[in-house]
């Protein structure tokens, strides 16, 4: 690469970072200094917050917490519900999906039922679950479980069904036991698709946990934004929403990292 092309590349890389940053900076300036003047019709200026107000709210939340719980406790409560419901769903959904995908007959009994349930948004189950189990921890974990389970199960089934026929013939050729076939041929072959379903299920679970906390909770990020919004503490709501996004992105990156390590052999 010649010096001038290198310079051009460096320039364009710099431009690629600077251009969007400058847009953000201008937007923040407008938000800070123009919006409080009441230029947005139909919404009271104080309900729109300001960047500096958000910074203050963030520091307040970080030091004093909210509603008698530290900020970290809110994050931890939401994470705990999500991870518990998700883990149970994965622990049951993946093995069950593998078996149902592999044994056509067993699958034909159960899969249409799960296929019918999946398109129903998990949020629609919340009132039912509240009637069944009340508003305690179990109800929230159960809603997460419902959300993740159907995704993981059907994703695993679909992964198993796309295992190349020749892999299965190889297993039959050398008389692998059924267990060995499932563990050493079907599972690894279906793993990329299973992983996609796990990642989607995790993202959905995180969205659903916040929604379930909106309804009834004393701690959790969903509770935080719901409760802060009731007293018009808009800047705290912003912080809560941003935190929900941040945690969601972090979880997704974690999944990607694990996926890259575990599935290094895929797609090259």
């Amino acid at each position: 690469m010649s010096a001038s092309t290198w310079l051009n590349t460096a320039k364009s890389t710099g431009l690629q970072t600077l251009a969007p940053l400058s847009v953000v900076a201008v937007a923040l300036l407008i938000w800070q200094y123009l919006i409080p003047l009441g230029i947005v019709p139909g919404v009271k200026a104080e309900y729109l917050g300001t960047p500096s107000g958000i910074a203050v709210a963030a520091m307040e939340l970080a030091s004093a917490g909210y509603g008698g719980h530290g900020l970290f406790e809110h994050v931890r409560a939401s994470l705990f519900r999500t991870v518990t419901g998700f883990a149970i769903a994965a622990a049951i959904g993946v093995p069950l999906g593998i078996v149902l995908g592999y044994h056509q007959r067993a699958g034909s009994f159960l899969l249409p039922i799960f296929g019918f349930l999946r398109p129903i948004p998990a949020l629609a189950f919340i009132p039912i679950v509240v009637i069944w189990f009340g508003i305690g921890e179990f109800a929230k974990v159960f809603v997460i479980f419902m959300t993740a389970f159907l995704y993981v199960l059907l994703g695993s089934v679909s992964g198993v069904r796309s295992v190349p026929a020749d892999y299965l013939r190889l297993a039959r050729n050398y008389h692998l036991s059924t267990f060995s076939t499932l563990l050493r041929v079907v599972l690894p072959s279906a793993l990329p698709e299973i992983f996609v379903s796990l990642r989607t299920a995790m993202a959905l679970s995180w969205a659903v946990v916040v929604a379930s906390e909106l309804i009834a909770a004393q701690v959790g990020l969903g509770y935080l934004i719901q409760s802060a919004s009731q007293v018009y503490a808009i800047n705290k709501v912003y912080v809560g929403v941003a935190l929900i996004g941040l945690v969601g992105v972090t979880i997704d990156l974690l999944f990607l990292a694990v996926e890259r390590r575990l599935l290094h052999w895929v797609g090259r």
């Binding site: 050398y174 008389h175 692998l176 072959s189």
Partner: protein, 273 residues
């Protein structure tokens, strides 16, 4: 009955099809894919089935492998009817079919580590030694830790061949294993297969499927030519050329060229249009 008489004539056959037929489809839309195919391959010999696309040559191989069953007639290996797949008949697929999450070493070791009934040693150190032996045999001694996606198509074919040999099956069933390779790599694989089969102490019977006449003549003792819809064997050629002749001398000899073109002409007449 005439099929059984034919079987009685050829003693010691390891692979034998006696009037084997195969019909596909439902009762309303039946299609006769194979029509009373009889052929036999003696122990230690290599036979090739050649024919136009859709003539049912892969079906023959699948029946011998036990992946599918004849709807009429018999398919036997070592005098016994084939009822299911088994490690006594190693199968090499059209594509290398290496498991992409395993290294070359683990792929080659796979049948011996996780299979049953191979009649092979299962101790880790024995498997290690034999995998390395077969990897060296196919020229992959340095590739043991590579994953399939890190290898060329030719190397993947070599690894698949090593896995096939590793299981030490008496019968090797090969379904156009080199068809997807470029011409040069294909030639190298044909030579390798020939060498390997002839140099091993155990007597291996090979049933090979191809649509490449030259490949058929180069590697086999017998060539069976098939017609399509329904699949029938229309010609049996006992290949008259020496197995140890150098490739160049062989393909340039007038006898080879003549037989090759005769078979190609016959094949071309079978393909409509």
């Amino acid at each position: 009955m005439s099929g059984q008489d034919m079987g009685a004539q050829i003693m010691g056959a390891q692979i034998e099809l006696i009037g084997a037929s195969k019909t596909f489809g439902s009762r309303t839309a039946m299609r006769l894919a194979l029509d009373q195919v009889s052929l036999s391959v003696k122990a230690g010999q290599t036979a090739t089935v050649i024919g136009p696309t859709g003539c049912g040559k892969t079906t023959i191989l699948n029946m011998v492998a036990g992946f599918t069953h004849p709807t009429g007639g018999r398919v036997m290996v070592n005098g016994r009817d084939v009822t299911e797949p088994g490690p006594d008949r190693g199968f090499m697929f059209q594509r290398p079919t290496l498991l992409p999450w395993l290294t070359v070493f683990d792929n080659v070791a796979f049948p011996c580590r996780h299979g049953h009934g191979l009649g092979r040693p299962y101790r880790a150190d024995q498997i290690e030694a034999e995998v390395m032996h077969y990897l060296a045999r196919v020229g992959l001694g340095d590739a043991r830790d590579l994953h399939p996606h890190q290898m060329s198509g030719g190397m993947q074919s070599r690894a698949a061949l090593a896995r096939l040999l590793m299981a030490e099956s008496e019968v090797l069933l090969m379904d156009e294993p080199f068809a997807a390779l470029d011409a040069q790599t294909r030639l190298a694989m044909q030579q390798l297969l020939k060498q390997v089969i002839k140099s091993e102490q155990s007597l291996r019977t090979v049933l090979f499927i191809t649509h490449d006449v030259e490949e058929a003549l180069l590697i086999s003792d017998h060539v069976f030519l098939m017609s399509a819809s329904p699949g029938r064997i229309i010609r049996h050629v006992e290949v008259p050329f020496g197995k140890n002749e150098p490739y160049r001398d062989l393909v340039l000899s007038p006898a080879f060229t003549e037989l090759k073109h005769e078979l190609i002409d016959q094949l071309e007449r079978l393909v409509p249009g």
